[in-house]
Symmetry: C2
Subunit: 415 residues, 2 copies
């Protein structure tokens, strides 16, 4: 998308708050040094954040020979943010303070056959109500709710264009949620939620260009370019899972053949296991989580079948990640989502070697490959971050229509 | 890379001059509307460009009921820019005015066995001298020389890290050129030169996100993201030619198997022709240009072998471009370089259909696929644009070290 002056001011506001959250307390001088912004710009942005009560003045530090410098810190109790991770089998909700510490959690199971939009909406509504009650925060202090739903999402209209797990098409999810939830709502997908979590709080923080590879049931790459999320012109960038690595290869659930996801997504890995050893005790038919967990235990126990399945998977994964390294020349590739977490560091070590064999030497030399360091659910954290970004984006445009900030709320002021 | 305040000011300066070149004469109000920048920012940037004599005031237009508005236009004679396209078999040099009109051209043949760095440097020196003489411009008016060399380039040090055609490794090309050429010099590669040409003057102008696919002897994708060139952390992004589409497929000159370039680069197309019809009269062994030209004529004459070769090539090309559409979700994919030009609109029409079969519906619906509209050598134009960008980047830092602007010059002021 084209960047306007407003986009740039908003991006700078994100950058300054990101830095304050990471390094509280800090001075305006340190913020200028860390962000590359001028001291005048920093002073303006810090003033805005103070007005919003997102940060507070917390005293002074001596500077060598000069005037004491004012210190600011994040005002953790200045508001609450809610992140919603809608997945195939559960809805997971977390409530955060402004330091992005988890204050409350709720989880609802989504049983097979319970995946109508109205049913999912009622799970979300119940879980959001639960975390607000548990945390004991006043409704007025909730700055927003970020909602992640798998598949293709139109942020501007709040529509789930296509959710592959449930065959949802054109579901007006935010309109449905707005009937039950009074806070500003922001919709996006897990790919972008986990990328923004890495940008603000994880391995992409302070990096210009990073690729966040999601390995789960679905597979994709969240793109951080120029220290900002790259969404593409219709918010569907990052569909690495549906790029081709084996022309005329395995059928993918998208209908094409030879996609990355068909080999390195959870069901692709299960198929590799089934092809190699149809009667393996590692295989839990119809249960991806149990199968991947069994594989991870097998690798630790040097089970030859488990080792071979991971080696075969890494061959595809290394090729696909080398493609990302050659195309984006990122500083870091972060492996995220539950399959990466389950297989852990042994997987990452093999992936590093495989990517080094396939990528060009110059971009390879500049790229680190790491496991996500975020200890909680990165999708909840990222979804809450979208709500935080939404609150920062609306600064100075309080009379704007909510839709221009991609937020929906019954309580938004009239335009 | 991380964007600093200076980067943003520089990007805004590019954007305003780009708009003035495209729409001279124009008013500050029109510039604000076209760029999304505030009128105050526009006034500052226009003032800088006037100070540099890159633009001039050219009168007034009436505005309905208000004060007449001052008009500005590009000052075509305010300076000269030189673009150098170093290719496998030739060195092509063009001299431009500030409206980026070609004032003079020179070409030198690089014969087989004449590809030592010193030999190439002497060709470049001769051709640059020739265009300055032909155009009759004073040396002091030459703002800079942009040089494009194939392969991996370190802009900051002016080094050709690796040029595959000639097996150059770590050649300090700008240091060698600086001994003979007194103008500020800027080094990059054809991928990025043609992308920046499309951004300033071609199909990517005014677009946020665009991918410029280069189809020549080498193959790659210049990336325009957020209206700026995406270089990656070590200036080697865009190596789409060496992403894998056929696991364990054809051997590529990079040493890997199954790369896009091995199928859709000029020698890949020749191999497809040779495999299909070893004795075809379309095949000119050792002459890529003649073979591709013969294929293009064959397609126009409905020659079944030519049609089959193009169809097979489009199968790979459509798959590889669909991968770019799924990953970047661009507004436009531009086909550039000599193979695309030679095969022309019939190729593009088939590519559109093939991409539509392979890309996901949502990003596909947002993407146009077009042939480059630039009528001259886009690499020369882009290289000259790098020199123009270099001149704009150094505004307000005249006492900075030349290396910080990635320019080299014997005549640069001391720091
Ligand atoms: Zn697919
Ligand atoms: Zn290759």
């Amino acid at each position: 998308m084209k960047r306007t002056s407003r986009d740039i001011r908003t991006a700078n506001r994100y950058e300054v708050l990101r830095q304050i959250i990471a390094a509280s307390p800090t001075s305006r001088q340190e913020l200028a040094a860390a962000t590359g912004l001028s001291l005048a710009t920093i002073a303006t942005l810090v003033g805005e954040l103070l007005d919003l009560r997102m940060i507070t003045e917390v005293g002074f530090e001596d500077s060598a020979g000069g005037r004491p410098r004012g210190l600011v810190a994040v005002n953790a109790s200045g508001g609450a943010l809610i992140g919603v991770d809608i997945a195939e089998t559960y809805v997971h909700v977390e409530l955060f303070d402004l330091g992005l510490n988890v204050l409350a959690r709720a989880e609802e199971d989504v049983r097979p056959g319970e995946s109508l939009p109205e049913q999912v909406v009622s799970h979300v509504t119940a879980a959001v109500g639960s975390v607000v009650t548990q945390a004991g925060v006043e409704g007025a202090r909730v700055l927003g709710v970020g909602v992640s739903v798998p598949g293709q999402v139109d942020r501007a209209t709040g529509t789930s264009e296509y959710a592959p797990n449930w065959d949802w098409h054109e579901v007006p999810l935010l309109d449905l949620l707005t009937e039950h939830i009074a806070y500003p709502l922001y919709l996006d997908n897990p790919l972008r939620a986990s990328a923004v979590a890495e940008l603000w709080f994880g391995a992409a923080r302070g990096r210009g260009d990073a690729v966040v590879v999601n390995l789960g049931t679905g597979v994709g790459a969240g793109l951080i370019l120029g220290s900002a999320l790259h969404r593409g012109v219709s918010n569907s960038a990052g569909e690495w899972g549906h790029t081709t690595i084996v022309l005329d290869g395995r059928l993918c659930r998208c209908g094409k053949h030879g996609c990355v996801e068909a080999y390195v997504g959870a069901s692709g890995i299960m198929l590799t296991l089934r092809e190699l050893s149809p009667d393996s005790t590692l295989l839990h038919p119809e249960d991806q989580t149990a199968t991947i967990a069994a594989l991870a235990r097998g690798v630790r126990a040097n089970d030859p079948v488990a080792l071979k399945v991971v080696r075969d998977t890494v061959r595809y994964l290394g090729t696909g990640i080398a493609d990302l390294v050659n195309l984006f020349n990122p500083e870091v590739v972060v492996l995220s989502s539950w399959v990466a977490t389950a297989l852990g560091e042994p997987l990452v070590a093999e992936v590093r070697e495989a990517v080094a064999r396939h990528a060009l030497p110059r971009p390879m030399a500049a790229t680190e490959i790491v496991l996500s360091p975020i200890p909680t659910d990165p999708v909840c954290l990222g979804a809450a971050t979208f709500a935080l970004e939404g609150a920062l984006q609306s600064v100075g445009q309080r009379n704007a229509r909510p839709s221009t900030t991609n937020a929906r709320s019954r309580t938004a002021p009239p335009s």
